[in-house]
């Protein structure tokens, strides 16, 4: 069954999605997220996945320091039809700044991917690029590498053509600098479980 045959799926708006929560069809602990209007079931949390999430959160807290905070598996708002819950993201300010509304433009988004690698590289990358997320990292647990996606761009006219123009794959021995924390260095080895 290919993607083309699934284009007939109903797309939820964020408003409808929130009504699903209000009416108890979904609750905050359900492993789902809204992406492009689809209520997606998230990748199961194996212990390796969970470990990678915690490692990335710790490394990024250290790299960004004051004036930023790191949230794990919490919602961000991209557009009317997308409210994903990235594994890790770095947001400006303090948690109290978002007491009334979810953050919309994190400085860095990280997804940890094993069985969800195609989704992370495909539909999610397109959605993050479309929302102009400047720095998007995929901790690829299969190949034990970090895939760094930068320079969101739209080569074609259609919405779906958004993507990242610069994609780099870094091995465990590499070190990289987050775009929004230019003086910091993050070792890829510190992100891998």
């Amino acid at each position: 069954m290919n993607q083309a045959e699934r284009t007939g799926l109903h797309r939820w708006t964020r408003h409808e999605y929130e009504r699903l929560m209000d009416h108890g069809f979904l609750d905050e602990d359900d492993p789902v997220e809204l992406l492009d209007g689809l209520v997606l079931v998230k990748e199961p949390q194996h212990s390796r996945h969970r470990t990678a999430v915690l490692l990335a959160a710790r490394a990024l807290e250290r790299a960004f320091g004051e004036g930023w905070f790191v949230q794990t598996q919490s919602p961000i708002v991209l557009d009317d039809r997308s409210e994903p819950e990235p594994d890790v993201c770095v947001v400006r300010g303090s948690p109290r700044d978002y007491v009334d509304a979810h953050p919309t433009r994190p400085a860095l988004v990280v997804e940890v991917a094993q069985s969800g690698l195609r989704l992370a590289r495909g539909r999610k990358a397109r959605a993050y690029a479309r929302a102009r997320i400047a720095d998007y990292w995929i901790v690829n647990l299969i190949d034990r590498v970090l895939e760094v996606h930068r320079a969101p761009a739209r080569p074609g006219p259609a919405r779906r053509h958004w993507g990242y123009a610069a994609i780099e794959t870094l091995g465990a021995d590499a070190t990289l600098t987050p775009l929004a924390a230019p003086s910091a260095g993050v070792r890829v080895a510190d992100l891998l479980p």
């Binding site: 069954m1 993607q3 045959e5 699934r6 007939g8 799926l9 109903h10 797309r11 409808e16 009504r19 699903l20 009416h23 069809f25 979904l26 359900d30 789902v32 689809l38 209520v39 997606l40 079931v41 195609r118 989704l119 495909g122 539909r123």
Partner: protein, 195 residues
């Protein structure tokens, strides 16, 4: 659903009870043509004039073929199974409208989908779903090739979306006649169904 594991994405599935509650609560926009197919909310193809014309012609032909004691429904919900509430373009069920005032019919004797852009969906996914429910007579009125595809005799087949398919499929052109299983004394020219 062994054949469906290859998805890039997996969406939240809804049961039929949840779906009916969503409708009651008015969560969907009015006029949205949604059906529940195997737990997934599918949006029906937009109706072009030939599509709707084919539905009306088919409904009239089936009313004449089946006669009294049968109810011909157009785009009405069918309570197919715990995770499916499709709205086939035409369905023939026993009885009268009031028989379904409290609950949707569950087992049409004849189910018809009119297909243009939805041809692959109607043949494969809906075909497998209807076969799993044991619907004995499933027709796809194929507007692209101007033929009627008649599917009968559900058989198990793990390679299909819902584990079942129709064992017999026959393609009838505009010169053919078709006899519904539920109205064995009748015969309908295929040309009378097409717009």
């Amino acid at each position: 659903m062994g054949a469906m594991v290859d998805y890039e994405i997996k969406t939240r599935r809804f049961t039929r009870a949840e779906y009916e509650r969503l409708i009651e609560l008015g969560v969907f926009q009015p006029g949205e043509a949604i059906e529940l197919i195997g737990g997934e909310l599918m949006v029906a193809e937009p109706q072009r004039a030939p599509h709707y014309t084919a539905i009306r012609k088919t409904a009239k032909a089936l009313e004449a073929a089946f006669g009294p004691g049968w109810e011909v429904r157009t785009q009405g919900p069918i309570g197919l199974d715990d995770e499916s509430e499709p709205e086939p373009d035409v369905a023939v069920v026993p009885g009268a409208p009031d028989d379904y005032a409290r609950a949707h019919p569950t087992r049409p004797v004849l189910t018809v989908e009119v297909a243009e852009s939805s041809l692959a969906l109607d043949r494969q996914r809906k075909g497998s779903l209807y076969a799993r429910a044991g619907l004995p007579d499933y027709w796809v009125l194929n507007l692209v090739d101007r033929v009627l595809e008649v599917y009968r005799e559900p058989v198990a087949d793990s390679a299909t979306p819902f584990g079942w398919r129709y064992g017999r499929g026959e393609v009838l052109d505009t010169s053919a006649l078709v006899t519904p299983l539920g109205a064995p004394g009748s015969s309908i020219p295929v040309a009378r169904l097409l717009p």
